[in-house]
Symmetry: C4
Subunit: 231 residues, 4 copies
């Protein structure tokens, strides 16, 4: 009986925070489409080949659109995963979450910066800015997790130390890789951008590896679901 | 008792995924309005007939706005229908859903492409791109459903094989039609666009046919509601 | 016991529809801000009085922004009120709701049309379009309510005939007024726009008159809450 | 038993209002990113130093983006805090909330006004407008709280007079400060903007001070949670 009310409180306290965060993620990810601009051709020069080649020339837009979309999607999935372990929010946690959201809404800006300047002499700068934003996002992510887990204050009582350690490691992992991508930009912008484009595929697999198989769920042994299925 | 917790888990695991997806659908469908541009007339030439004819000349914008809106709406309804049968998410399902959302957010782009180039010599290309995007969306939809139903891993235990077969057929149906629309664009762009515009009306009726009548709902025989009303 | 599951089904079936609709309303109402454009002054001519007068000259933007915002807000409140009486959705209802949402997302377009052409010779046309959109929205609203109440198929069992009659009357009321505003636009655009601007204040009071006083709520006699408090 | 249904009613009546408000806050905060514009350089003049200096010159955009983001975030947190104490909505409350939302969606406008005119002779005006909008928002906030608490009509029965007094004082506090910032703009725009930029940090700490420590939560003595944990 002393357990039930506390579990209930989890939903109450972080529910509106999660739905607000979801809203920001959803809007930010959808605004990326403004990166895809309809090419403007002079009225006399409009033809299928002319428009076709104008559309193909915009490949940096398509590439960065997909990379940014996939990266925000992974960030959302990670945010979701982190909040599953958290049962309440305090002020530092709220502000770490706010910082993360600010950076998520910023993503469309470096995305269109790369789209417009990737095939110009300023490519090094825009790719460094692009990867640099992900470095800062990663720092914000680490801050959020640190705010949640310090002295285990905000974590659900059923979260195990092994789960904490695993997520800590997983979140820290991105930092050196995005730092590397930022530095690489000044050597070769395309390699830097390629690294950012590949990273989300890596996250997908890292995510996959720890994803519960449906079998375990009913057995109550799945780490992710433990807090909920035990209650 | 072994049934109850599992049913509870349905809400928990796909709840935030659904609300995030709803957010993306809602934003993408609302951003379509940017397709409707206020015509700019030179200050000296502003009059009721001049503005009226400028507004009427934008009919491709209105047509594609309505077609895209209706298509995203049907996609949302289908997404909603599919998620009713799913009781949990694994990584392939999450990423198939991510791909679908990416394509949903893309829709405003080919929509404004058609709006701007429908009455130009590049009409064939833009109509092919428009229908082509719906081909890819249909493929993503099939992927999502396949991720959900393979080995029945993610489906709610109460979903019947007949329901699975029916939805599989329904989702596959769109593929050849949108492929045809894509090919037709190179023969006659208007026929291609007309086919896309008509398709959603067809979906509406296909959807209607399988929609439960209110009478059946309380009897517990409705296939859609079965998982919930049985619990 | 035969009542409980049915009540539960209300939440399930219209829950995601409501949250999707809320998302569309929220995005559409927020996009209205794009109507407020920062004036561009030539670099040499920037001063406090110059910018101040440029900002004041934009008063049609501010007026239509506020009118459109208030109107969408009232529409959302009415949508909310209507859905309180509905306990499930069928296909005609879904599509009537879709039509209403389409028109809600359209509102930013006539809004910026009026903002740009109110103080030009084309004022009559843009004010007629503006009021005309609200006529069509009102028709969509009547359709939605008709889809909900025909043969009482989708209404909550506890909804009384008096409630149905009252809402029917309230929804029909707007139709002649917006029709009048549309026609008035060709006689005097300012009167037409003024009528639209005043109407939402009228809705607010109409809404107020029927709004339950907190006292009644716990007594279970409030018509709006009846379905819920009885269960 | 007479208590339970009333508590249930809280969720029902303000649930959709909160989620709609959250949607508006989430969209408005995300639209701020449009303040960050990609600089356009002539094709021949593109280089890392040229783009770098063009990006650095946009510092007013970055500063106002962050200030507006943080301020909307705090406003959302306060909105959230206020709604925790409210158990139902009447019409004046709905319209006070509507006014607040209107002003929240307006924020991107003065934000881009400051971004474009901060380093011009019109700086005084745009900073006064910027701070002035926050004055009006603060008034709307006071109205909302007044609508909620007058005669304790809408407050949850468990809310204590001390809580009411505390929140009243906290909300009134912002009014003189933003008024001061508005007046200061005509003396020194930078001081005015700096005051606005610092204020949200102050709100964060004011917020922190009253934030419940996790310890108290289970003891049921936390003021914020009291209504929920007692039920």
């Amino acid at each position: 009986m002393s357990r039930e009310p506390r579990t209930e409180a989890v939903e109450k306290q972080t529910g509106r925070l999660e739905s607000f965060s979801d809203g920001v993620f959803a809007v930010a990810i959808t605004l990326l489409v403004f990166n895809l601009q309809v090419p403007h051709l002079p009225a006399g020069a409009i033809s299928v080949p002319a428009l076709g080649s104008a559309l193909l020339k915009q490949w940096p837009s398509y590439l960065t659109f997909m990379t940014s979309f996939a990266t925000i999607l992974i960030m959302w999935a990670s945010h979701h995963g982190l909040f599953k372990l958290v049962y309440q929010a305090d002020t530092p946690f709220l502000f770490a979450n706010g910082l993360l959201l600010l950076l998520v809404t910023v993503v469309p800006f470096p995305t269109s910066l790369v789209a417009q300047y990737l095939i110009t002499p300023a490519a090094a700068l825009v790719c460094a800015v692009y990867a640099g934003v992900f470095v800062v996002i990663n720092v914000a992510y680490n801050l959020l997790w640190w705010a949640a887990m310090r002295q285990r204050r905000l974590l659900h009582p059923a979260v195990t130390p092994r789960q904490v350690k695993r997520l800590t490691r997983r979140i820290l992992l991105g930092l050196p890789v995005y730092l590397l991508a930022t530095l690489l930009a000044f050597w070769n912008p395309y390699v830097s951008l390629g690294l950012c484009s590949c990273l989300w595929i890596f996250w997908a697999f890292a995510f996959y590896e720890r994803s519960p198989s449906p079998r375990h769920l009913t057995g109550g042994q799945d780490v992710e679901m433990a807090p909920k299925s035990e209650a």
